[in-house]
């Protein structure tokens, strides 16, 4: 008896889950007309930043602007533009920030090399200070407290 009830509940649950998923499932996006062009477009799109969701590329972002810019890249590829021309088109309108990888320029040298320089500098200071301390004679340092078996008593 309990088995029949359990299997009825299970199939009821399963059926309602199917309905729920069907309700939220969207139509699959239309297949691209030209898969080669689409791949090229996605490759370029992965190098461009979505200015709305700034940590995403326009390849990944769901924002309207990202969809518009992907369409623009597609259009330019169909016209026969090169990747360099397309990227320049974008930076002319949105500035260097639209490049997902910051360009190597005078103004971005600090961005690229700053952290490494600070790290190396910090390590160098550490090594120098430790070496210097190593060379000092022992009486420059406070003596280690000898282990006392009864810590609680007064001196």
């Amino acid at each position: 008896m309990a088995d029949v009830l359990r299997s009825r509940i299970a199939s009821g649950l399963l059926a309602s889950m199917v309905f729920v998923f069907a309700a939220v499932a969207k139509e699959a996006p239309p297949a691209a007309e030209d898969p080669v062009l689409e791949k090229k477009m996605m490759r370029i799109a992965a190098e461009l930043r979505c200015l709305v969701c700034q940590n995403e590329t326009i390849a990944a972002s769901h924002a309207d602007l990202a969809a518009d810019l992907r369409e623009q890249v597609r259009r330019m590829l169909k016209e026969g533009r090169s990747e360099e021309q397309i990227v320049r088109y974008m930076t002319e309108r949105y500035g260097d920030f639209v490049l997902y990888r910051p360009p190597m320029k005078g103004t971005t040298l600090l961005l690229w090399f700053g952290p490494v320089v600070l790290l190396v500098g910090g390590l160098a200071v550490l090594v120098i200070v430790l070496r210097r301390r190593n060379r000092l004679s022992d009486d420059r340092f406070e003596p280690d407290e000898p282990e006392a078996p009864d810590e609680g008593t007064t001196r």
Binding site: L51, Q54, D68, L69, Y94, G95
Partner: protein
């Protein structure tokens, strides 16, 4: 020179603090426009209120004007609307609207409901003129001078403060 050992790390720390606070003040949503001091992109669009007539960038040459990007679906545009209407009433400069990715009926209804500060609105249905202007967050406002060069861009809703401290002085300067 014992104090030197303490001063140098302190200076380095102070420098780091300086950069930290400067960085905290910067807003990454405000991407600087590469169009400043460059010619405003040319466009030819139909008017929002009349699909048989066109409005072009070149129609505005010789005048200092504002281009305001707006849409009926844009909530922040409603926020700046009173400021824009007030600015239009001062007649400091013509304001051209760029109706971005909207429909004619909705755009016109929005103007009817909230008021129309624009001398004319251009209908940019697919947003391609917006892309030329580097639009990424509606509303955006541009100040363009008599020679057609972009001199100022503001991203986000206009406030009376921005109008008073940035736009009006610039308009006075450009108008000579």
């Amino acid at each position: 020179m014992r104090s030197l050992r303490f001063i140098i790390p302190l200076l380095v720390f102070a420098a780091l603090l300086f950069f930290l606070f400067r960085g905290l003040k910067l807003d990454p949503r405000e991407v600087p426009s590469p169009l400043i001091d460059k010619p405003a992109p040319g466009f030819t669009l139909t008017r929002l209120d009349d699909a048989t007539r066109t409005i072009r960038r070149d129609d505005m040459l010789g005048k200092v004007w504002l281009l305001n990007v707006w849409a009926s679906w844009c909530v922040a545009c409603r926020q700046e609307h009173p400021t824009l209407v007030a600015l239009a009433q001062t007649r400091a400069a013509p304001i051209v609207g760029l109706n971005y990715k909207d429909t004619r009926p909705e755009g016109l209804a929005w103007l009817g409901q909230f008021g129309n500060p624009y001398d004319v609105s251009a209908f940019d249905q697919d947003g391609r003129v917006g892309i030329d202007f580097g639009v990424y967050g509606v509303p955006e406002t541009f100040v363009i001078d008599k020679n057609g060069l972009v001199r100022f861009k503001h991203i986000g809703p206009l406030t009376p403060e921005i109008v008073q401290t940035k736009i009006q002085p610039l308009l006075r300067q450009l108008n000579g």
